[in-house]
């Protein structure tokens, strides 16, 4: 098992850190506005700070706060947060083969730090799980380097947002920088026509199913895009769409 020092010294740690740092301004603007939104939805400053420092799940936090303030039973609040986070359950299925070799507690840390963008950047950098020890160590180092800067920029900016909530109007729309970070990330992922199609289907389904509660539109959109892409992969157009020779 690797020590923390070995992980931090691994060149992949730095690689993960640098790739996420590029997106960090978008994350920070988003975290800032989430901190502001937490206070504006009525949660006290001390509780908002504690939540911003620990939970690390923006949309789940904002879904939970009104329920907490309304005195909803705790299981309702937790079930809500679970549903809002369901996309991460899907991601964890993908990540399993990459992290199963890691000891239990460190594996939980890897998972905790795997937000949306860390997952996206990680599987882009490492499309296949490594098969040797050095490769596995590098992948975990990448994940932790990437996840830690993501955690830091998100959490620090959320704390600032909580403290400055009364001075930053939401009408400025600073949170849009977070969306732009995702737009750039999407472009960098769209390496084949079929990936563009998958993103487009998910976009359409995400809008069409928007009225579903608990952000379930995102889960529906992922399912639709994956199913449709798998069908296209088996179709006669698979070769040109995937950029690979047909099977």
């Amino acid at each position: 098992m690797q020590t923390i020092r070995q992980i931090v010294r691994n060149t992949e740690f730095r690689q993960g850190f640098v790739e996420m740092a590029q997106v960090a301004p978008g994350i920070a603007a988003w975290g800032l506005m989430t901190g502001v939104a937490m206070v504006k939805s009525g949660l006290g400053t001390a509780e908002s700070l504690f939540m911003a420092l620990t939970v690390f799940a923006g949309s789940a936090q904002l879904a939970a706060i009104p329920l907490m303030l309304a005195g909803a039973p705790i299981w309702v609040i937790l079930a809500t947060a679970f549903c809002v986070n369901l996309r991460f359950v899907v991601f964890s299925a993908h990540m399993r083969r990459y992290v199963m070799h890691v000891p239990f507690l460190k594996r939980l840390l890897c998972g905790y730090l795997t937000g949306d963008l860390t997952y996206v950047l990680f599987v882009k950098r490492h499309p296949e799980p490594a098969t040797d020890d050095a490769g596995r160590a590098g992948q975990v180092a990448y994940l932790l380097g990437n996840g830690s800067i993501n955690w830091f920029s998100w959490t620090a900016s959320s704390l600032v947002g909580v403290v400055l909530a009364n001075f930053i109007p939401t009408t400025w729309g600073l949170g849009f920088a977070g969306i732009l970070a995702l737009v750039g990330m999407t472009c960098s992922l769209a390496s084949s026509p079929l990936r563009w199609i998958a993103g487009g289907i998910a976009a359409a389904a995400g809008v069409a199913a928007f009225t579903l509660p608990l952000k379930l539109n995102i889960l529906v959109a992922i399912a639709a895009a994956v199913a449709f892409s798998l069908m296209l992969e088996r179709s006669p157009w698979a070769g040109p769409l995937t950029g690979k020779p047909g099977r």
Binding site: P25, E47, V89, S92, G111, V183, A198, G199, I201, G206
Partner: protein, 119 residues
């Protein structure tokens, strides 16, 4: 400082700690147990489309919807902001700090339209 501490509700703090548990549980869901199992091959292949699908599904409503409705006007700063970001990204062909540039270029278009014109 007095009210700062007095505002803390014990039950809320318990809930927040439990929410950390939900964060960990959902993100680790399929690798908590060490029991051997494998995803079916089709699922393994399908998951390679999950990242871009998740991004598409998160982004699209944030750009073309407002208060749960599809927008009916082109006078929306988000459309032009996103377009500005895309133009920058493809002008750079995704090279260098393209994502950072997408954020900066997009905001440079978005903020004047949003704050200046109220779009």
């Amino acid at each position: 400082m007095g009210t700062f501490i007095a505002d803390i509700n014990g039950w809320h703090m318990v809930t927040i700690v439990a929410l950390v548990g939900v964060s960990v549980l959902t993100r680790c869901f399929f690798f908590i147990s060490e029991k051997e199992w494998q995803l079916p091959h089709w699922a393994e292949r399908g998951l390679q489309y999950a990242p871009i699908a998740a991004l598409g599904a998160v982004i699209a409503p944030e750009i073309v919807m407002s208060q749960g409705q599809l927008i009916h006007t082109l006078e929306d700063a988000r459309l032009f902001g996103a377009l500005g970001g895309l133009v920058y990204y493809f002008a750079r062909r995704g090279g260098g700090q393209a994502v950072l540039g997408t954020i900066v270029a997009g905001m440079a278009v978005y903020l004047p339209l949003h704050i200046g014109l109220g779009w």
